[in-house]
Amino acid sequence: MATLTNDQIKVLEQSRQRLAQLTRSLGSLIASLNQSDPLPPWSSLQSQASIISNNLISVSEQLSDHRDLLSTLVAYPGPEYPGRTQANTLEQLLRTKLDPRVEDWVERGRIAGTEKPPPDTFAIANPSLAATAAQKQLTEADLAELWEWAPIEANEEARRRNWGGNFTLEEREAGIQNVVTGLRKQLEDDEEEEEEDEEEDEGEEEMEIVGVHRKSGGNGVEFDIAPHHAHPVQPVVPLSDILRYMTTGRMS
């Protein structure tokens, strides 16, 4: 039973730090899910998820890099170990088998690892890829969830672009003369006129909608003004008459 070299202690200390990081980032994700109402914006969730994912990778690398050392290490209490006050930790350290709950997690992880594509392509990191790659594995419920989630997200992405023009904002900023369209026809940049039109029509177009997107703060939703509706039908009976009927059963 040799004592540990300084290098070996360093490896253990590194592992401890990485596990501590992982625990912290998991804890902060759980806390933000529990405490913020409404839920944190998806961008924040995603960044937390990728932090966790990075932590996992580094833990996993650390553990496999030093597999030889870690699998041969044996823990035993030294005489100076405070066994009385730290009995719980001691018991954990002296376990020869995993906690049954942990054993379950490990088992589930192994099954998931062998049957499914690598976990990092799964929904969190890249939902659209996951949808195609993992389509067969998705259950009905997962699919339904995805479909509920996707339209709003897609729409939100789409809303970031100013549709209707011939050029994107990036293209315009970079100078439209540089854009390779592959077309012979000369495209006009009609942005300026559009803005004027919108201002003029604002009053009557207010009632018409095409979509919904979340405000950048992640708090609430806004609706956008849509092109003209195909068959607008204005109500014949004024609102006040409807309410009067609902109240008394009479229109007047």
């Binding site: 709003i152 207010e206 009632m207 018409e208 909608i209 919904v212 609430g220 939703v221 806004e222 609706f223 956008d224 003004i225 509706h229 195909a230 068959h231 607008p232 039908v233 204005q234 109500p235 014949v236 009976v237 004024p238 609102l239 006040s240 008459d241 409807i242 309410l243 009067r244 009927y245 609902m246 109240t247 008394t248 059963g249």
Partner: protein, 288 residues
């Protein structure tokens, strides 16, 4: 209890879109609802309203003044509201075949339940009314009292005193009559309900029943088919109602917070619909 409200008229072409937008906003699927709404009106025997102040027998004069004041107090329209299912409409999936199938599905097929038989015979004889599974005697009801909206509120939101109380099932008219209310008419409200934090959103419209002679004077015991129902607003428009309940209406702080939540919603929806407070007199429940 107080109720704070905003309303908007929603043209029929906008209905489908607004449903989707509200589903997105509230992160819930619309809950489709049908409600029978029975309108009752307080009545008082004619001729006793303006009794003269005469010699008092067992009343103190202060009491007499109080009684006279009460006699001239407000009387109100009150609604009795009962939820129904789409299956309650005649022909809503209950065809002869289905009815027979359910009869056969009786746990004791050799000796079919005599109850079921009598019921069916009874219904067959009423050939003018299509068959439905609707059971009026099991219809649940609640009394919904709404006062006239408060006048002169500075905030741009409709605010009124409300009370809701569950009533016994079945025929509620005898009790309502005894309590001082007479049945006026009934209609059906069809629409979708959403919950957005502490706000209830109803996107609904009024449907009329087909009129059969003799049915106007009491709540109907049978439901027609849904196709026979006609919208009150012929163009098919809907009403969006955003409402919020406040337990203690005298607490200015909570009332203010509640109005602000409604205004927040109005802002969020402003490019889709214009939520506004209602014309106070259009929600006047007083009997004149």
């Amino acid at each position: 209890m107080h109720e704070l409200l905003l309303f908007a008229s929603v043209p029929t072409h906008q209905h489908a879109e607004l449903l989707q937008q509200l589903a997105g906003l509230t992160a819930m699927q619309p809950r489709h609802c049908f409600e029978r709404r029975l309108i009752f009106k307080a009545y008082r025997k004619p001729g006793v309203a303006n009794a003269r102040v005469g010699a008092s027998q067992d009343l103190q004069s202060g009491d007499l003044q109080r009684v006279n004041k009460m006699l001239n107090g407000g009387m109100f329209y009150t609604q009795v509201v009962g939820p129904i299912q789409s299956a309650d409409f005649a022909d809503a999936g209950v065809t002869d075949a289905a009815a027979n199938a359910s009869a056969n599905a009786n746990p004791n097929p050799v000796n079919p339940d005599p109850d079921t038989d009598t019921k069916m015979d009874g219904m067959d004889s009423e050939s003018s009314i299509p068959r439905s599974a609707y059971d009026f005697d099991q219809q649940s009801w609640q009394l919904e009292f709404r006062d006239i909206p408060e006048a002169g509120t500075r905030s741009a939101v409709t605010s009124r005193v409300m009370a809701t109380a569950a009533l016994p099932r079945g025929d509620i008219v005898p009790s309502m009559n005894a309590w001082g209310y007479s049945f006026v008419t009934e209609y059906l409200v069809e629409g979708d309900m959403f919950i957005h934090n502490d706000i209830v959103l109803n996107l609904h419209r009024v449907l009329h029943y087909p009129t059969n002679p003799g049915e106007e004077n009491q709540p109907r015991r049978q439901m027609p088919t849904l196709q026979q129902m006609a919208p009150l607003e012929k163009s098919g428009s809907y009403v969006l109602q955003a409402s919020m309940m406040v337990q203690d209406g005298s607490n200015q702080e909570t009332m203010k917070t509640a109005s602000q939540h409604l205004f927040g919603l109005r802002e969020q929806l402003k490019s889709a619909v214009r939520l506004e407070m209602a014309d106070r007199l259009s929600l006047d429940t007083r009997v004149k």
